[in-house]
């Protein structure tokens, strides 16, 4: 049954791509695809050749199991929703998607990447985590496979590799964004930083935050560290922050340790303003965590599931219907990544019979020319270096939902 369906899809896609090659019908096909797509305003470059089409094979890599599984699953699910939408549209470009598990480990991620290559992957959406992405990016650069990571935020992922792009903010971007926001809105606060010093993501944001905070004249009164092995008890760090008189605690960490911190701070009656970054996203849907503890927590995130625009609401509804959860920022990043890939494929005029390397070269040229209206930002554009340009947004958790701060 499934095979039959697949065969039918492939056949119809083939027929479509053939029709697209016909010439006169081609521009109609691609323009209808662009206008009817909910997220991508694909071809802003008028030079888009009209012959883009076919069923492309997209590979997705992320930690589907293990301690970071919530991120990988969000990415795989978000990408799947975008792929389903695009396929249901029936435009010239159709996608076939396969997601592989990498347990957030570099070696396994490279293995997963090779596995996807054996499957015939033409475009890579992933990996999800920073360390894994850096390892895979080097391979993708050598193999000339176009790579768009939804959520790996370190500049090391993209630097020096022309075919690697990011959908999320970079670490410096987040650290600087957080410091700038604090300098503007809470300039005279005493800041404590608690970060995980054996994690690439956490340390990356911490380093840029500290240097930007110094430049903006913010006062950092305490810095506490922890590692993966000591992420179960934060009484030392919290007592340190409290006795140093900190009224703002910056947490450039993932949400699991953050939940412990919030819990312990509550137990010891310490009530500073907690300020997180995009790794904090997901804390409200965490199992066994009382969302009331996260009341008043601020975080810097490009996506809020409670936004009222139609696009977000449709996405949240589709995600909840399919997976029963409220999507987090990673799902939204992956959703946008798939639409960005679609827009770039259209702009580059790629067809699915091209090999990965040809598609890669065409997309590298097309990427800086496209602009995508996605869940995580309006009018996202990419620099040739691979970094995305979109506005960060600070939200505060009020009554269990993200709201814009007053």
């Amino acid at each position: 049954m499934k095979k039959k369906f697949l065969a039918l899809m492939t056949a119809s896609a083939l027929a479509l791509s053939l029709a697209a090659c016909g010439g006169s019908s081609s521009s109609a096909a691609s323009s209808s695809a662009a206008s009817s797509a909910p997220a991508s305003s694909g071809a802003t470059s008028g030079a888009a050749s009209g012959s883009a089409g076919g069923t492309f094979k997209i590979g997705v890599i992320g930690p589907l199991t293990g301690e970071n599984a919530i991120y990988g699953q969000a990415v795989a699910n978000g990408a799947q929703i975008a792929v389903d939408e695009i396929n249901a549209e029936g435009g010239a470009i159709q996608f076939e998607m396969k997601s592989e598990d990498d347990v957030a480990d570099g070696e396994t991620s490279v293995n997963a990447y090779h596995n996807l290559q054996d499957w015939g992957m033409q475009v890579l959406v992933g990996p999800t985590t920073t360390g894994a992405s850096t390892a895979v990016a080097a391979e993708a650069y050598n193999d000339r496979v176009f790579m768009l990571t939804p959520s790996a935020s370190s500049t090391d992922v993209v630097s020096g590799k022309d075919n690697v792009f990011q959908v999320c903010f970079t670490d410096p971007n987040q650290g600087i964004g957080a410091a700038d926001y604090m300098a503007e809105n809470m300039a005279d606060s005493k800041i404590a930083v608690i970060y995980r010093n054996d994690d690439a993501y956490s340390q990356g944001i911490h380093d840029t935050f500290v240097s930007e905070a110094a430049a903006k004249g913010l006062e950092i009164v305490y810095e506490g560290t922890f590692t993966a092995d000591t992420a179960t008890d934060f009484s030392v760090q919290l007592t340190g922050a409290q006795s140093a008189g900190a009224d703002t605690v910056f947490l450039p960490i993932y949400y699991q340790p953050a939940s412990v911190i919030l819990n312990q701070a509550n137990a010891m009656g310490y009530e500073p303003t907690f300020f997180g970054v995009d790794g904090m996203d997901g804390i409200l849907t965490m199992e066994g965590f009382d969302p009331a503890l996260a009341e008043g927590v601020m975080l810097l995130t490009p996506f809020s599931a409670d936004a009222t625009d139609e696009l977000t609401q449709n996405f949240v509804a589709a995600y909840q219907a399919a997976y029963g959860d409220i999507p987090n920022q990673f799902a939204a990043d992956a959703y946008d990544a798939v639409y960005a890939v679609k827009a770039a494929l259209e702009a580059a005029g790629c067809t699915s019979d091209m090999d990965a390397a040809t598609i890669c070269e065409a997309m590298v040229a097309a990427m800086p020319t496209i602009s995508v209206d996605g869940l995580t930002g309006k009018g996202m554009t990419w620099a040739a270096t691979g970094e995305v340009s979109k506005a960060p947004m600070a939200v505060v958790i009020k009554d269990g939902v993200y709201t814009l701060p007053d």
Binding site: T65, E100, D101, N111, H114, N115, D156, S159, D198
Partner: protein
């Protein structure tokens, strides 16, 4: 021809099969007949084989339990990465640079082995297990504090012990390259590892271990394992021979780590955690204590297995665990052992029969 000793025969058969397997895999790989998945795993498999054989020297032949073998791999990996990045402009030849990288990795891991072994190997009991366990954790935390950069003035190294420093505090020139950035690890390593280098590493490892085992020192080491008191009574210097085996083992692990380090452009200290140490111990136990070719087969099989199980998607590690348990049960099954035992004497009889003719 004079009849070859059994140990020598095993050694030569192992060399021969490794060479054969390498030749076949190399030919298949060059002809593009391997899947990308398998050809990408060739170098890590070689590293894990070398790790397993070297750990077998400590656990199987010396008879001391080590739970921190990944720590030596870590020392080798990060020193190898630093060495290879430092030499990238000085030595343009990649094979030479790779060889030097592995030598540096081996040397530093040997130093670490001396530091760990010197106090502990004087003791009797399971102290080595405890201390190596701690060593693995200490190395992880030390590398997390390590900041290394390189510019025209040479290497810049800082230990970020207070947690307040970043790579900017190294004072690198604008053209300088950051090699290791604390917790972010090595993030821009040039990948120079090759399957041939992996093969040579495995051959050297086997050669060193086989020759050590079959030498006078090796017999002393095994005598220590079997009966320490008896060995001491005939005048064997216990600490010296224990150190010899342990330091050799850590140096070989360092060389394997160096090759592993330059095979990936990004490497974090957390990769070499307790789980990795246990994984290598599993290779050794599954292959059989003291059985070197068993370690080789187990390392290769257990590295390929999780990838081969990808069709089970989320359940693959579950299936992996079940397969592992089944294999362990099967290899310890008395019926199976008896069946294997029946095969062996018949072989011997044949040979004797052949010898008589």
């Amino acid at each position: 021809m004079k009849k070859m000793k059994k140990s020598t025969r095993t050694a030569f058969l192992t060399y021969l099969s490794v060479i054969l397997v390498f030749a076949v895999m190399y030919a298949l790989d060059s002809a593009g007949m391997l899947t990308r998945s398998l050809s990408g795993q060739l170098v890590p498999i070689c590293c894990y084989m070398s790790m397993a054989v070297s750990l077998n020297l400590t656990v199987g032949i010396l008879g001391e339990l080590s739970l921190g073998h990944a720590g030596f791999m870590s020392v080798g990996a990060f020193s190898g990465v630093i060495a290879s990045m430092y030499m990238k402009d000085i030595i343009p030849s990649v094979p030479l640079r790779l060889a030097l990288t592995m030598i540096v990795g081996a040397a530093l891991a040997a130093v670490a082995g001396v530091i760990v072994g010197a106090p502990v190997l004087r003791l009797r009991g399971d102290y080595l297990a405890i201390v190596t366990l701690a060593f693995g954790e200490i190395i992880k935390d030390l590398v997390n504090c390590l900041l290394v950069g390189y510019d025209s003035k040479g290497l810049h190294i800082a230990m970020n012990l207070t947690g307040n420093m970043s790579i900017n505090d190294l004072g690198l020139e604008p053209t300088g390259v950051a090699i290791i950035k604390g917790a972010q690890g090595a993030t821009s390593t040039l990948t120079i590892a090759s399957f041939t280098a992996g093969f040579i590493l495995v051959m050297i490892t086997l050669f060193v271990v086989f020759n050590l085992v079959n030498s006078r020192a090796g017999r002393a080491i095994m005598a220590l394992r079997d009966n320490t008191i008896a060995a001491e009574s005939v005048g064997i210097n216990i600490t010296k021979y224990k150190m010899m085996a342990f330091v050799t083992s850590s140096a070989l692990a360092g060389a394997a780590g160096a090759l592993y380090g330059v095979n990936y452009s990004s490497l974090q200290a957390t990769k070499f955690n307790f789980n990795t140490s246990i994984l290598i111990l599993v290779f050794v136990v599954l292959g059989g204590l003291g059985n070197l070719w068993g370690s080789l087969v187990a390392a290769a099989a257990l590295t390929i297995l999780p990838e081969a199980l990808r069709q089970f998607s989320d359940y693959r590690m579950l299936v992996y665990a079940i397969v592992l348990i089944l294999v362990m049960l099967a290899t310890n099954n008395p019926t199976l052992k008896a069946a294997l035992g029946r095969l062996k004497p018949s072989k011997k009889q044949e040979k004797e029969a052949a010898g008589n003719v």
